[in-house]
């Protein structure tokens, strides 16, 4: 940039040199050399003022740009009347309008949660949300994980600097759910809740692993609740979900918060157990479940000699991936319209 006015051209050289030495580059506009130029304006004859002032502004803009403090990266935002329905002087056909309805989409995960919640509600369950920060007590202790028990190793939890936890399962809500509804039990009503929400595991990302994903958690407490009821409920729930009759299979498992505990599988709804791309060998492992451990009931203020219950927890992403044949779990949180608009 060259300046017509020699005074300004000289100052520009000095200022650019100083700019290089400055630690905080934006301080350059506070430089006395620049202030002195501005101070000259009122002293100039009428005819010269405008041109001089314009050149100083150009210099200032150049300095700011050099300092990386571009004053006006975009159009300067002029004030508008935010209470008006449209801007001044807009033709009717240029006024704000909604995008075409067919472009809109819901996220496949929240859609699936709506579907699962709808089934649960029809089966008589309440739907409750989970938390995104919780304490160790709810995440582990209230679920009968002894301090430092190796079972805690199975959960790679995110921990905050205060020692709070990003819940690694929706079971973090079990204690709250049961204790808030325990009075209902005395009236002969069961506690029957579904918690579909976000959970977190401190894992590296790849096509099959996400650190942020969604679970659906079922909690049922009442009198005379037994394993046969758990299995029947899950079978009914999943048959309704897949829209077909299914066979079920359990495998003993270990969770500290259920006793006994199971992994639960259904016959593949896509190949009728023949073996296919989705299931491999005819079965889809779909969730973990069990009878709620008496210590968990006790900690929620429920007498486990009178009441029993069951709980389950399963992944939502898996269901959506199976349904739409999605091969990479990372798409869900990618925010890519290429992905999202396919669910319009």
């Amino acid at each position: 940039m060259s300046y017509q006015n020699t005074e300004i051209a000289k100052a520009a050289e000095v200022l650019k040199k100083r700019l290089n030495e400055l630690e905080n580059k934006s301080d350059i506009i506070k430089d006395n050399e620049l202030k002195a130029l501005y101070a000259r304006i009122p002293m100039l004859p009428d005819g010269e003022r405008a041109a001089f002032g314009k050149e100083i502004n150009t210099l200032k803009a150049e300095l700011l740009e050099l300092a990386g403090q571009d004053d006006e990266p975009h159009k300067k935002l002029e004030p508008i009347d935010v209470t008006a329905p449209f801007d001044i002087n807009t033709e009717p056909d240029k006024r704000p309008r909604l995008l075409a309805s067919d472009l809109g989409s819901k996220h496949p995960i929240t859609s699936e949660i709506e579907i699962l919640s709808d089934i649960a509600m029809r089966m008589g369950m309440e739907v409750v949300k989970s938390r995104q920060i919780d304490d160790d007590w709810h995440m582990f202790t209230s679920l009968n994980f002894p301090e430092e028990h190796p079972a805690r190793d199975d959960y790679d939890t995110f921990i905050t600097t205060e020692g709070l936890i990003a819940p690694a399962h929706t079971s973090t809500m079990q204690n709250r759910i049961i204790s808030a509804r325990k009075d209902r039990l005395a009236t002969g009503q069961a506690i029957s809740v579904l918690v579909p929400d976000r959970v977190f595991r401190n894992e590296d990302l790849d096509a099959r692993h996400e650190h942020t994903f969604h679970q659906h958690e079922g909690v049922y407490v009442g009198t005379g609740v037994h394993v046969g009821q758990l299995l029947a409920t899950l079978k009914t729930f999943l048959q309704e979900y897949f829209g077909k009759s299914l066979e079920i299979k359990t495998q003993p498992f270990y969770f500290p918060f259920t006793e006994p505990s199971f992994e639960f599988a259904v016959s593949c709804p896509f190949c009728s157990k023949q073996g296919c791309r989705v299931c491999g060998e005819g079965w889809i492992e779909i969730l973990g479940c069990g009878l709620i451990h008496p210590n968990v009931l006790k900690m929620a203020g429920v007498d486990p000699t009178i009441y029993t219950g069951f709980a389950w927890g399963g992944g939502v992403e898996r269901l959506v991936m199976i349904k739409h044949n999605i091969d990479d779990v990372r798409y869900f949180m990618s925010g890519k319209l290429d992905f999202l608009r396919q669910f319009a």
């Binding site: 508008i80 001044i88 995008l99 304490d135 600097t161 401190n202 394993v227 409920t233």
Partner: protein, 845 residues
């Protein structure tokens, strides 16, 4: 846990097909990850005797051998004696040796399942070799490839099947460890065998050595003196040490190497192999020290060993070669001078058993599972011993396992038992406590009607002691079942052994009381439906953000909850508001070719300043929407500020959700940290605070709408035509629950009249102020029994007069009583204009 079926069969009968067994294991014990059929791996390998060896005519290092296979192999060329010619490069090959021969057609076991190498008859430097003689490494038994494996089994003769002799006609069933977290006994073959008997409804009998209290030599030895350290930490319930002399270190017999290699353990030497074998069988880890090395590491008072807590700054070089600095909470095995092993985890290199070892100290101890776990985590050491100790092994098994290992060392390594020391276990080793449980308790939880007798049988099969007392079962667990504590444990045990697949399925009964609905979830579903039907796309982003994003949007990192252990730097902080996460997704989609779009997310935010009733971080449910159009689209489609596009979506949302009474106040909302963070990305000149009226007098701030600061636009590469809003959902939910009355207006039988009014007003007059004043005036002066509606038609500004603007409104009015005359409507508008003139200086045009 890799389980050899042949090993299981040493302890119990399995007379169901492997497939059926695997299915039963899956259903009643734990998930099977994989089953490997070893029969195919070792198919066709024949035991042969080397008859003659002669130097290869064309190669120095090769020998031409003839072997005797008992004449059983078909289709192979034989000499006149019926022997087969094989070229062999092993230095140890000699006439008379019994070796494993891989005839043409056999696969080299070490290549099985990878890149299979199938043998044939082919010339090696001009001499035909029919297959090959195999080393231990080629047979996948150990790493030893120094020569061919000389078979050590006396009973074998040429022509016998190699696989059968060493029990390699096996199936390896890999059962997932995870379900054994509470079952210390299932980390040993013996425990698995017991369960396999149990699920076949077959009684199991543990070998005598495992149940009978062993006797050890008690006489003071002449050689191999050893003392235990006087005190032990409470984290060590039991510590046993044995001295064995005259040990001959050498490779283990092939049968032993065969067990180990099948289950994935590398054979090393007979002593180490025996400790591993016994551990794999019983789940009790053992460790062997070189006696002389321990002696050298002891002080002047003789050889001393025992457990203690490590000292601060103490160092230990482990068998892995790694030197670690110990923590005061680590348990170590030490002499009176130095630590020599990390208890329950790994031995030390200074006392390692090597080829020169002649005497050993064998340790068989019990450590607190939590202490071992802490140590393993602290030093990042996860060994087979750690896996087992952290499940809570029973200290009652130490003496039996010690005895069994000593007997093996005597047999296999020629060892002499000198001395076995045990801690004083008085008051430490408690017998198992019986669980009392009724048949009703069990049946009610399984939905079954089993008798006490049927239940007792199931339990007795796996060696529980059961006494029946009327409807009550008094169940005493065997010592290895440290997991049995409460009645519910018996529910699991009986249910599993009975078979959960056999339970009758029955849905819980309920009455017709509807479950309470969740208004927040209903509201969110509504928002999603409304926005998506207006062309917006819902996306989900992480609850955590990189610190850079907070900085770029002007938020204060200090307000955000920070993760201390995230693997990725993208996940440093919990988000303070939703808008930055959405803005972060704008540029990538513009780049992907989307000219305009509206994206939204419903999510949760936190702020360190906000706690809830539980004292935990308060969770705020938010909806954020961002509309954007690139320059090309914006210029072609819109004039005016992008703000109004965001406002269009906001208005739609409130209309559809039935929350009519909202207002927009110019400028950013003010409040504490939470609101500051919310407002941070928005530019004050083009933003408004969104408020809703909970009543006529009470308005609450529920969010913000606006365009973004130039610095934010630049940092996130946003098109200039971008705007958005963010709202607090629970406030909306409250407003919605109160906005109950219907807005329906009765239809009139008379025609509706419409007339426009244009007013010249000061440029800085807010449209809403004008509109609400006019609404108020019209309400006051309109004829009775009429309904009015005022809508905007135009807002115009003449370039030459930027001090004013013209606002044109359309009044629509209808009466329930009569047809209104033009004159009436005119005068109504004129009066309205007068009122506007008085209030705002407006001139009617």
């Amino acid at each position: 846990m890799k389980v050899s079926l042949n090993w299981i069969k040493e302890f119990t009968t399995v007379n169901i097909p492997v497939d059926e067994l695997v299915r039963k294991i899956g259903a009643q014990l734990g998930a099977v990850e994989e089953t490997v059929d070893l029969e195919k791996k070792y198919q066709g390998i024949v035991i042969t005797k080397v008859v003659s060896c002669a130097p290869h005519p064309n190669a120095d290092k090769l020998q031409v051998c003839t072997i005797d296979d008992g004449g059983i192999t078909p289709d192979v060329k034989r000499d006149k004696n019926g022997h087969v010619q094989v070229v062999c490069g092993a230095p140890n090959v000699a006439a008379g040796m019994l070796v494993a021969w891989l005839p043409p057609g056999a696969t080299v076991p070490s290549s099985y399942g990878k890149d299979p190498f199938v043998l044939e008859s082919r010339e090696i430097r001009g001499v035909v070799s029919n297959g090959m003689l195999a080393s231990a490494s080629e047979l996948a038994l150990s790493d030893d490839h120094s020569g061919i494996l000389e078979l050590d089994s006396g009973g074998a003769k040429p022509g016998d099947d190699f696989a059968q002799l060493y029990k390699l006609d096996d199936h390896i069933i890999d059962i997932e460890n995870k379900m054994f977290t509470h079952r210390p006994d299932l980390f040993g073959i013996l425990g698995i065998a017991r369960e396999i008997a149990g699920i076949q409804h077959r009684p199991f009998k543990s070998p005598d050595w495992h149940v009978e209290k062993p006797k050890f030599l008690s006489a003071e030895p002449k050689v191999g003196q050893l003392r235990l350290m006087g005190e032990r930490p409470e984290q060590v319930p039991r510590f046993m040490a044995a001295v064995l002399t005259d040990v001959e270190i050498k490779p283990s017999p092939i049968w032993l190497q065969s067990w180990l290699s099948r289950t994935g353990i590398r054979p090393i030497n007979n002593v180490v192999d025996i400790t591993n074998y016994v551990m794999y069988l019983t789940a009790q880890p053992l460790h062997a020290f070189d006696y002389e090395k321990v002696k050298a590491a002891s002080g002047a008072d003789g050889v001393v060993i025992g457990p203690r807590l490590a000292k601060k700054g103490e160092k230990l070089k482990l068998l892995s070669g790694k030197e670690i600095e110990l923590d005061e909470q680590d348990i170590v095995i030490a002499t009176d001078k130095n630590a020599v092993a990390l208890a329950g985890v790994m031995g030390g290199t200074d006392t390692e058993v090597d080829e020169n070892t002649r005497s050993i100290i064998l340790e068989c101890a019990n450590f607190d599972m939590y202490a071992v776990r802490r140590t393993a985590m602290r030093h990042g050491l996860f060994t087979d011993a750690v896996t087992r100790f952290t499940k809570g092994q029973s200290p009652l098994q130490n003496d039996r396992v010690m005895k069994f290992a000593i007997e093996l060392l005597k047999d296999i390594a020629g060892a002499e038992e000198q001395l076995v020391l045990d801690t004083d276990n008085h008051g430490v080793l408690r017998p198992a406590v019986a669980v009392h449980v009724t048949d009703d308790f069990i049946n009610a939880r399984l939905g079954l009607t089993l008798s006490v007798k049927e239940m007792a049988h199931l339990l007795e099969n796996v060696e529980f002691e059961v006494a029946i007392n009327g409807p009550t079962l008094v169940v005493t667990p065997p010592f290895w079942r440290t997991d049995i504590e409460i009645r519910e444990d018996m529910v699991e045990e009986i249910g599993r052994l009975y078979g959960y697949d056999n339970l009758p399925l029955e849905l819980p009964k309920r009455d017709l009381t509807p479950p309470p609905k969740n208004p927040m979830i209903e509201l969110k579903d509504n928002m999603r439906s409304t926005l998506s039907s207006a062309g917006a796309n819902e996306l989900l982003t992480y609850s955590f953000v990189h610190g850079n994003l907070l900085e770029k949007t002007g938020q204060n990192k200090g307000q955000a909850f920070q993760l201390s252990n995230a693997l990725s730097p993208d996940l440093q902080y919990y988000r303070l508001s939703m808008t930055p996460s959405l803005l972060d997704k704008v540029h990538p989609n513009i780049k992907a070719g989307y000219g305009e779009f509206a994206i939204y997310e419903i999510g949760t935010v936190h702020n360190r300043a906000e706690k809830d009733d539980e004292g935990l971080p308060k969770e705020f449910d938010r909806l954020a929407v961002v509309f954007t159009a690139d320059e090309k689209v914006a210029k072609a489609k819109y004039t005016g500020a992008a703000y109004y596009e965001a406002q269009r979506y906001l208005t739609l949302l409130f209309d559809k959700l039935g929350i009519g009474r909202h207002s927009l106040a110019p400028g950013l909302p003010e409040g504490g940290d939470l609101i500051d963070a919310l407002a941070s990305p928005y530019d004050t000149t083009r933003s408004a605070t969104v408020k809703i009226g909970l009543s006529d007098s009470k308005k609450v701030t529920i969010g913000i709408i606006g365009e973004f600061k130039p610095a934010v636009q630049k940092a996130l590469k946003l098109p200039y035509y971008s705007a958005g809003f963010e709202l607090d959902i629970s406030a909306i939910s409250i407003a919605r629950s109160r906005a109950k009355e219907s807005t329906y207006k009765e239809l009139s039988k008379f025609p509706k009249t419409e007339q426009d009014i244009s007013l010249k007003v000061p440029a800085d007059l807010a449209y809403s102020d004008l509109l609400s004043h006019i609404n108020k005036v019209v309400d006051e002066i309109k004829p009775r029994e009429t309904v009015t509606d005022i809508t905007p038609v135009d807002i115009y500004q003449n370039e030459s007069d930027t001090k004013h603007k013209h606002i044109t409104l359309r009044l629509s009015i209808v009466s329930y009583e009569r047809t209104l005359t033009d004159k009436e409507v005119n005068s109504l508008l004129e009066e309205t204009a007068q009122a506007a003139k008085k209030k705002f200086g407006a001139a009617r045009l």
